[in-house]
């Protein structure tokens, strides 16, 4: 290929992509970071104020509420979504009649527009007319008809359930890809040695899926920190910002209140948190393997 690798050819091939990428991805990241050190409100020049926004952030109770809610969704997802997707993958990995159609149906929620997902779940979670409460009331279980959304406490847990519904088929597919990579003879030779199904699951399948688990946990972390549409539709952060997550809070501060500088400090912190969570998790699980 050396014949065609003239400098101007290479430059010409790379230029359009690099131009768009630098102006619309790299520059914005830098600009966000820069604005987070200013009090920019859209009028006049941005005034550089050093770490002031970050100090405000530290003292902002709404920021902590958003962080706590995001964290609740993360914990719910790790506790239910991860094992759920794994069990679903084990089930789908068995020989099932019309298995491909079943796999596709389970995958379907993850291709529906997130904004539609939010709208659908309004009709499941709504305290007055949602499926859950209507069902509970029709069974006479009025004490189970809780304020799943719009109340003071339960919204983030409900969002975690919605996120689980959205992602389970997708993560199960990633698990399935991992299961397919485990060589068959490992199972065959272990069953000759007298290992039972459960023993095989615990000492072959799960350890050998380590990489896949890691991918899925990182997908969950990055996914949870991006949840936006469902919160917007289910509660729009209300009542009184109690169900806000980091991204919606950032959005409201930036675009509704017009505090651009402060908004960008929330965006920066959220971005860094995602990275830190992912990296720490990957570091920890690497250590586990080495031990």
């Amino acid at each position: 290929m050396i014949w065609l690798s003239k400098r101007r050819y290479i430059l010409g091939m790379l230029l359009p992509t690099l131009l768009v990428y630098l102006v619309y991805i790299i520059l914005p990241v830098i600009v966000s970071f820069y604005y987070s050190f200013t009090t920019y409100t859209g009028i006049g020049a941005a005034e550089f104020v050093g770490l002031k926004n970050y100090v405000t952030l530290w003292q902002d109770s709404l920021f902590w509420i958003s962080l706590k809610n995001t964290f609740i969704i993360l914990v719910v997802s790790i506790m239910f979504l991860l094992p759920g997707a794994f069990l679903l993958a084990l089930l789908l990995n068995l020989k099932i009649k019309s298995g491909n159609a079943i796999k596709a149906l389970n995958f379907a929620p993850s291709i529906i527009a997130p904004i539609l997902v939010g709208l659908i779940w309004v009709f499941i979670l709504d305290p007055q007319m949602g499926l859950i409460n209507v069902f509970a009331k029709s069974l006479g279980l009025n004490q189970l008809a809780l304020q799943w959304i719009g109340g003071k406490t339960l919204t983030p847990y409900s969002i975690g359930v919605v996120f689980t519904w959205q992602m389970i088929g997708f993560l199960a597919t990633v698990f399935l890809a991992g299961l397919k990579m485990i060589p068959r003879d490992v199972y065959e030779s272990s069953s000759i040695d007298g290992a039972g199904k459960l023993q095989q699951l615990l000492s072959i399948t799960i350890p050998m899926l380590n990489e896949t688990v890691k991918i899925n946990v990182v997908l969950i972390i990055t996914g949870v920190f991006k949840i936006f549409e469902t919160v917007l539709l289910l509660t729009n952060g209300g009542p009184n910002h109690l169900s806000e997550v980091l991204v919606t809070y950032m959005y409201n501060v930036t675009f509704t209140s017009g505090e651009y500088g402060y908004g960008m400090s929330i965006a920066t912190v959220t971005f860094l948190l995602t990275m830190v969570f992912s990296l720490v998790y990957m570091g920890l699980s690497k250590k586990n393997i080495e031990e």
């Binding site: 789908l92 149906l105 379907a108």
Partner: protein, 297 residues
């Protein structure tokens, strides 16, 4: 001898039979279990379909009853209230422009990175790493700066205001898939073409592009879905009703229909069906694209 054979073969046959029996039994059980699980996952969607055929007072007062007569009233109102044609048109135009341009430019840059000889190997690796970095950058951190750029370039409320960020956010994923595929593909065909006097443009158009077609299909379908579903950029950058995209339109349902729940539900179903049809049709590419992005990224 024959006695021995009888003794040893008797139980063996029995055991095989027994095993087959439990196997087929277990298979039936697992199929039923899989169907039940799938039904649970689909329950929210089925619930919406059921509600969509009911009047508003039935939705509120007795949601569990089966609709006595199938009424399409909700659907009729949904079509009246929504300008579905406009929403689809805007999304389609944006998707078409975005995807044609992004495939062209990322194909070119990926080819350069995968095949061409740079003077410095290190520079090439740096550029590749830079382009892949975007996989880790979430869209929400770009929203405000991109909003500023849109004003700066004077393209507010135009197709371009969404097309450019959509191209930009697809670059990392496309680069990952294109360079990955090209690296795994032997260069002999291309070398032969060059020796036969093929220029760079013809090489790309007539030799490499056809080879890379399966990946182009994955990239194409994956990006169609992305633009179809994209919301954060749309809600930030578009304020003109004439430019509303599908996701943006859906976000306004609640306000538009006020308390006409039947209308909202019917409208959602009208938008879910095309998505599901698209998914059924291009399943393989969508699942491939999403897992490739996950596994390699």
């Amino acid at each position: 001898m024959s006695d021995l054979a009888k003794i040893s073969s008797g139980p063996v046959i029995k055991r095989v039979k027994g095993k087959q029996h439990t196997l087929s039994e277990g298979r039936g059980g697992r199929t039923v279990l899989a169907y039940i699980v799938t039904l649970c996952i689909l329950l929210p969607l089925l619930w919406m379909v059921l509600l969509s055929f009911k009047s508003n007072s039935d939705i509120l007062n007795n949601p569990f009853s089966f609709p006595k007569t199938i009424s399409f009233g909700n659907y009729a109102r949904a079509l009246e209230t929504l300008n579905l044609g406009l929403l689809y048109k805007n999304t389609f135009v944006i998707a078409a422009i975005t995807i044609v341009i992004e495939i062209m430019i990322t194909f070119m840059s990926s080819y350069a990175l995968a095949r061409m000889v740079f003077r410095s190997e290190r520079l090439k690796r740096c550029v590749t790493a830079l382009l892949l970095m975007g996989l880790a950058i979430p869209a929400f951190i770009l929203l405000f700066p991109v909003y500023r750029l849109t004003i700066f370039f004077g393209i507010s409320n135009t197709y371009a205001s969404l097309v450019i960020p959509y191209i930009a956010t697809s670059i990392s994923f496309n680069t990952l898939l294109f360079t990955g595929f090209l690296r795994g593909f032997p260069k002999e065909v291309e070398e032969a073409a060059v020796i036969d006097g093929c220029g760079l443009f013809t090489l790309g158009r007539a030799v490499v592009f056809p080879i890379i077609m399966p990946v182009v299909a994955t990239v194409f379908i994956f990006n169609v879905l992305y633009i179809w579903n994209e919301f954060p950029f749309a809600v930030t950058l578009i304020s003109n009703e004439a430019m509303t995209t599908l996701s943006l339109g859906i976000s306004q349902f609640k306000g538009r229909f006020n308390i006409d729940y039947g209308g909202i539900i019917a409208a959602s179903i009208l938008l879910i069906i095309p998505q599901l049809a698209f998914f059924v049709f291009f399943q393989r590419f969508i699942i491939e694209g999403m897992t490739a992005g996950a596994v390699k990224g």
